[in-house]
Each structure stands twice: as structure tokens, then as C-alpha cells.
Subunit: 458 residues, 2 copies
């Protein structure tokens, strides 16, 4: 019983200091989401395994956390099941799992509530998800996703709004050292088409996606093995070599893809998205058209984009794209949408590394009342009631402990002011207000203390 | 694959309307917690079973959701384990469970971080917990707890602060039809002592706790079986019959418990708590001293209290008490604390039943721009950028759909204003602003629309 307790591998506690910073990120993103008309949704931690399995590929299925049926979970099993091993046993002893992402539960919600939802439906969702991944630096078994999607419309206004939200959120963090790479799955399809790889599109994407990792030469070797001839590889080389600003690149690509209808459509969509973004009052030069961008997830069908810091090594901090068939797996066809996902953990690390969190310590209380005996404690309760009635977060050190101990408490908790209440102070109704950072102190009535603190807040 | 998806039994989705109301409750409570100097903590959904089991009694253990070990979960099992049944099998195939309450994970956190925590430690925690209970009306398998605790001090200032927070929170909800019953475990011990039931204290409490359910006569029958003689039952009868205000009841009890030192201590603590509450500026007549209050949980050692609505049937909506040994199960002795728990689901139902939620629909957007063709859409993007730059939550219906459809969208989403943008409006730069509730409309420049909406917000 008295063994030292521990946390499950890959999970974390968030204490007050981390919560302060995480809430700063989450509240900021929430405000932007709501400013753009997105509404919150929360779904349960547990989903039926019939909802989860088969949606994330074989690898994903293996990373699902499964919940043992309650009660006599062996009741549906037979001795033979154990001999056959885990795969045959699992469905008989486990019917539920922890959610693996926010997208599949969202799709389930849309299908279950399709008669009550007003489309286009703009929802955001900020919740933890769970994956039985091997824990390592920056990869956790419980982590938060922060998604917003617009479903039920294919208007390209939505694409631009998401790119605008990226810029609004990062502006709130005073973080500017990032770039947004965008492309369009239809452009990729066009490239595959003119390279003669139309039939092998998904393998073509997988290979192209490795450009960053293995370099152009090896990618071209693999594409040759896939069946691309020299002429095709030459054409691809031309496309990858396109340079200039976004307009110039898109213009040049238009002529290289002039045989591909879908490619042309992708280019037109990208142009319109950038135009819309500009009309929304945002800079398009934060956005870089990048024809090598493939994004792993095969369900994207239109715009795809990724945001990365430019001055530190951090990987993708925000990403998303358009998909044509969110709810098809649940039998509801034709629900198109476009989404965004902010990576809260990486944003946290980015702001930390660049020292962009608000400088204040986690200040939950503005003032601590320090008292030295029981009479002063009683007197202080009345002061406390006045401070709080004025809307000031304040607390009383609950025991008449030594001054050093009480000041140490204020210091460690990041409380900026202390109010000293001793017998002299009680007699004169003038209390010593001490500013912790400088050690400066002066005497005030409680009314003046309140006035001072309220002025300082404004 | 296309089978209709469903939710696991006893779990819920929270759509925008419910989220609006739930967030209203949670944000209000959070603000009060922080005003009183409590700081947030979040712990993972999963805990090691070694942390959870044995903390909630046998029944609690059975209600834990257990997570199947990932990978080859059969690797530690032998054929004999299956024959012996679930009990012997569980520990070999499952090492983690979902948290059952917030108290045990909090105790684990305190023990693991005891060298970094500044005591007294005031933390609040608002998170879901999971129990494999039989779902029924008002009882869910995933539900939220909302706790605040002060640990590491036995100052009775803390008791009063919690009772003050009850009153502050419910005042924010404009909800006054409730009463707070308080007692003290030491008073109960004193009563048991003078009734000769000191050695059977916990069974004495369990029986007394049934007063509401089975009535005095049956309770007295059971107490007689426990060994209480006629004289003791007579004395108990006198205690239960005490009437008058809090001071009168405590005075009368003091003489009835004059042989019990612990009973006297309980009375003194209760008096001081009420005095402190009064010094904090709160009404003590919201608080009713109730000597029959027992509270099920055996770990309480000082003040215990419960809050119930008085005009509707709802059960306990807030409760808590003082405990002496939060972390003893994890080998850290002597950490005393006192806590409060708000029942969010029942508060939700209470505010709903009494019609106390803010009257507005879930308003996430303040204004919808309605446009009728592609040119108006483009024009509207620029208007949208001005509205948002002014801090107004606004959106554009992303397609130039029929007027009726766009107005229906605003109506269903509870958006109070729409701005109509047609060719005439674009020419004159005067847009029709329509107030949905009344249907009133008038023409304004975008600057005047912004001014109007900002004024209305203030």
C-alpha cells in the first residue's frame, strides 16, 4: 500500500505553472475559433471499438487503448479463444476504446446528429486523445488535439478563413517566425497524371513525401522503380525546380500541367484561396506554395497545408486540409469539409524556447495577507472580504506563521503583493503593502490598497 | 463498415448549446476558485491500477474501467489463469485504469511532488472521471468532478473559505434557493461516545446516515441491535430533537456532550468556522447546523457539509469536508486538508429547471454576413476582416445561397444580427443590418455597424 506511486508511461500531470501556460495557449486559440464562428463540441473519452477500428490503418488499430469489459468479461469467451491468441480474444473481452483522434468521433457525432445540425457546421474541439505509442521526447500516450472544421460546404472561403486563423492565433502569441506551406491534392494528382503515375497516385504521394528525409536522388530512384520514365522524371524535376513568388510559381505550373484537367483545377483553387486570404486582410507572403507538400493522410482531396517555425527545429505546429468524405465510413456520403489542427504541445515548446510566454509567473492570487497572531487573523478575514468584493484575487496565509515562511509562500506562488497585518496596523487601520519584486513597501488604508491594485490591473 | 454508429452506454456528447451552458458553470466556478487563491491542476485520464485499487472499497474496485495492456497482453498469462477466472486474470492483462475520482490522483500528485509543492497547497481540478456504474437518469459512466482542496494546514480559516465559496458561486448563478447543512465528525464521535457506541463508530455513522431514508424508528431499532441501551437512545433522541438557531443548538449540544472531550472540540470548531464565515462577510443563516449529517465517506475527520436546493428535488449539489490523512495510503503521513466538490451535472439540471441560465441562445457569432453572388462574397470578405479586427465574432455564409437558407442558418445558430450584402449595398457602401429577434432592419456603413455592435456589447 505504501509503495511510491508513479504515473503511467507517456502521461503527464500539469501543475499550476504548466496549466497557466497551457491555458494561455488554449484560451487564445478558443477566442480566435469563436471569433470566426466556430462552436465547441466535446465527445466522450471512450468510443465503441466498432467506431474506432479500421479507421486508422492496421498500425493505428494496434495503437488503440482498449478497455476491458466490466463485470465477468470472460463470459463470452471459450478456452479455444485463448489458444488462438490476442487477436481472436480482444473482440470478446473488450468493446470500447479510448479515442485516437478527434476526427472520427466528430464524424460519428455528425452522423448521429445529422438531422439536428445546421450545415455548414463549424465546430471546434479541444480534448485529449490516447495512443499506445512508444513514448519518447515530445511524443506522449495522452496528448491534446485542438481542431476546428467546417463541414457541409465546399466554398473556398473556408480555406482562406483557416489560413487567416493561423495568422491571428500566432499574432496573439507575438510569434512571427513561421511559414505556412500550402498545396492542393489536385495539384499533386495533376503532377502524377502528367508524369504517367495517375494509377499509382497514393504510392506516388508516399514517395514524394520523403523528399525532405531522403533527398531528391533517392526519391527519383524510387519513382523510377514505380514506373516513371525519363521524360516523366524530367518533367517532375522541372516542377520541383520552379521558383519565384506564389503567383509566378502557379503561373509556371499551369503551363506544365496543361494536359491535366484536375491539375488545372488545383491551381485555380489555390489561386482563389490566396485571393480570399488577401481580401480577409491577411498577408499572403506568409504563405508559400510548395508543390512537394504531400501530407500523409490519404483522405485529403483539396487544399493541404502545414505550418512550421522557421528559426527553431520543431516540426509541424499546425496543419490541415480539405477532405471530401468525412462521414462515408459511417454510411453518410457527400459531407465535405476542411479543417485545422493546432499542435498544443509543440506550440508550448515553441513559445517556451522563444521565451514568448507572458513574463508574469503563474499569478492566481494578486495579494497575500500576512498576519502574526490570532487577533490579526480575525481582523484579516474582514480585509479579505473587502478585497474579494472588489474583484481582487486574494488570500490569507491560513496560520500566523513566521514572516519568512509567509513571504516564502508568496514568492514561490508568484503572488506579487503582500499586506502585513500586525497590532500597530490594526490600531491605525493602515496596512503595510509590500511589492515582492522590488521589496518596496508603504502604508495604506484598505480602501487605498484596493484602489492601487485595481489601477495597476487596468 | 456502414453500420450506424452509437455512443457507449452512459456517455454523452456535448454539442454547442450544452457546451455554452456547461462552460458558463465551469468558468464561473473557476473564477471563484482563483479569486480565493486556488490554482489549477490536471492529471491524466489513466492511472496505474496500483494507484487506484484498494482506495474505494470492494465495490469501487469493481467499478474501475481497466485498460488492456497493449501489444501481446497474453504474454504474462498461463492457461491456469483463465480457468481461475477474471479475478486472477485481470492483474496479468491490465496494468492501468481510468481515474475514478479526482482525490486519489491528487493525493498521488502531492506525494510525487512533495518536495516542490509549497504548502499550504490550494489546488482546483475540473476533469472527467469514469465509473462502470449501471447508467440511469442523472448517473453517467463518464462525468465531471469539480474539486478544490487546501492541504497542509489545519487552520479553520479554510473551512470558512469553502463555505464562502459556496455562497459566491451560487450568487453568480443568481441562485438562492439552497441551504448548507454542516456538522463535524468530532461531534458525531462525541454523540457516539455519550451513547456508548464509541467502539462501533463507523457502524454508528452508517446507521445514522439512513435517517432520511428509513426514518427514526427503524434507525433506533438498528442502533439497539448495535448495543445501544435505552438511556443512550433517549439521549440520542434529545440530541436529534434540538431546535432553534445554530447558536442555540450548539449551546444545547454542549451540555449534552459535556462528558465527551472530542464532542466539545467538534462544537468549538463549528463555532469558530461560523464566526470566520461571518468575518468573511457571508451570511451564516444560509448554514444550518445539522447533527444528523454523517456523509458516507469514512475519511472525514472534521467539518462535513452538504448543499441542497430547497425548492426542487435534486439531491446534493455541493459537498465536502476535512480529512486528516490524504496521502497516508501512499506512505506520506500527516497531510491534512479540507475540500469542496461542486456537482456540475446536478447544478446544470438545477439551473435548467429553475430557468437560471443566461437567456441568450448559444451565441458564438454576433453577426452573419449574407451575400447573394460571387461578387458580394468577395466584397463581404473585406467587411468580415473589418468586423473581426474590431473584435466582433462574425462569419460569412460561405455560399451565395438563397436568403431563406442563410437566415435559417443565423436563426438556428442563435446569431442575433445579419448583414445583407447585395449589389445595391455594394454600390452605396451602406449595408442592411437586420436584428433577428424583432426583424427590424436599417442601413449603415460598415463603420457604423461596428460602432453599433460594440456599443450593444458594453
Amino acid at each position: 500500500m505504501s509503495k511510491k506511486p508513479s504515473l503511467p508511461k507517456g502521461t503527464r500531470d500539469f501543475g499550476p505553472e504548466q496549466m497557466f501556460k497551457r491555458n494561455f495557449i488554449i484560451e487564445t486559440i478558443k477566442k480566435v475559433f469563436e471569433k470566426y464562428g466556430f462552436m465547441p463540441l466535446e465527445t466522450p473519452a471512450m468510443e465503441n471499438l466498432s467506431v474506432l477500428t479500421g479507421k486508422y490503418g492496421d498500425e493505428g488499430d494496434q495503437l488503440l487503448f482498449r478497455i476491458l469489459n466490466s463485470g465477468d468479461f470472460l463470459s463470452k469467451t471459450q478456452p479455444a479463444d485463448f489458444e488462438e491468441g490476442t487477436k481472436s480474444l480482444v473482440p470478446k473481452i473488450s468493446e470500447k476504446g479510448l479515442k485516437y483522434d478527434l476526427t472520427v468521433p466528430f464524424a460519428r457525432y455528425v452522423v448521429m446528429n445529422r438531422n439536428d445540425i445546421t450545415f455548414p457546421f463549424k465546430r471546434y474541439q479541444i480534448q485529449p486523445v490516447w495512443r499506445a505509442d512508444k513514448p519518447q521526447k515530445g511524443r506522449y500516450r495522452e496528448f491534446f488535439q485542438c481542431d476546428a472544421d467546417i463541414v457541409g460546404t465546399d466554398s473556398l472561403v473556408c480555406e482562406a478563413e483557416l489560413l487567416a486563423m493561423v495568422q491571428e492565433v500566432y499574432k496573439c502569441f507575438a510569434f512571427d517566425a513561421y511559414s505556412i506551406s500550402i498545396s492542393n491534392r489536385k495539384i499533386l494528382e495533376g503532377i502524377a497524371e502528367v508524369c504517367g503515375a495517375k494509377e499509382e497516385f497514393s504510392r506516388f504521394c508516399v514517395i514524394l513525401d520523403k523528399l525532405d528525409k531522403i533527398g531528391k536522388e533517392k526519391v527519383f530512384d524510387e519513382l523510377a522503380l514505380l514506373g516513371l520514365n525519363k521524360q516523366s522524371l524530367h518533367r517532375l524535376d522541372q516542377i520541383l525546380a520552379l521558383s519565384g513568388n506564389n503567383v509566378e510559381k502557379l503561373d509556371a505550373l499551369l503551363s506544365l500541367l496543361n494536359e491535366s484537367e484536375i491539375g488545372q483545377k488545383g491551381i485555380a483553387e489555390t489561386r482563389e484561396t490566396l485571393d480570399n486570404l488577401s481580401l480577409l486582410g491577411f498577408l499572403t507572403d506568409k504563405v508559400l506554395v510548395d508543390f512537394t507538400l504531400a501530407r500523409g493522410l490519404s483522405y485529403y482531396t483539396g487544399m493541404i497545408y502545414e505550418v512550421k517555425p522557421t528559426t527553431i527545429k520543431m516540426g509541424t505546429i499546425t496543419a490541415g486540409g480539405r477532405y471530401d468524405n468525412l462521414t462515408g465510413v459511417f454510411g453518410l456520403e457527400g459531407i465535405s469539409g476542411v479543417g485545422i489542427s493546432f499542435g498544443i504541445d509543440r506550440i508550448y515548446d515553441t513559445l517556451e524556447e522563444l521565451n514568448l510566454f507572458p513574463q508574469a509567473k503563474a499569478r492566481y492570487s494578486k495579494l497575500l495577507i500576512v498576519s502574526f497572531d490570532d487577533a490579526a487573523q480575525k481582523h484579516s478575514l474582514n480585509l479579505l472580504s473587502k478585497l474579494r468584493a472588489a474583484g481582487i484575487s486574494a488570500e490569507l496565509y491560513p496560520e500566523p506563521a513566521k514572516l519568512k515562511k509567509q513571504l516564502g509562500y508568496a514568492d514561490k506562488k508568484g503572488i506579487p503583493y503582500v499586506l502585513l497585518v500586525g497590532s500597530e496596523e490594526m490600531k491605525n487601520l493602515q496596512y503595510t503593502l509590500k511589492y515582492m519584486e522590488t521589496g518596496n513597501q508603504d502604508s495604506f488604508s484598505i480602501e487605498d490598497v484596493i484602489k492601487h491594485l485595481l489601477e495597476e490591473t487596468n
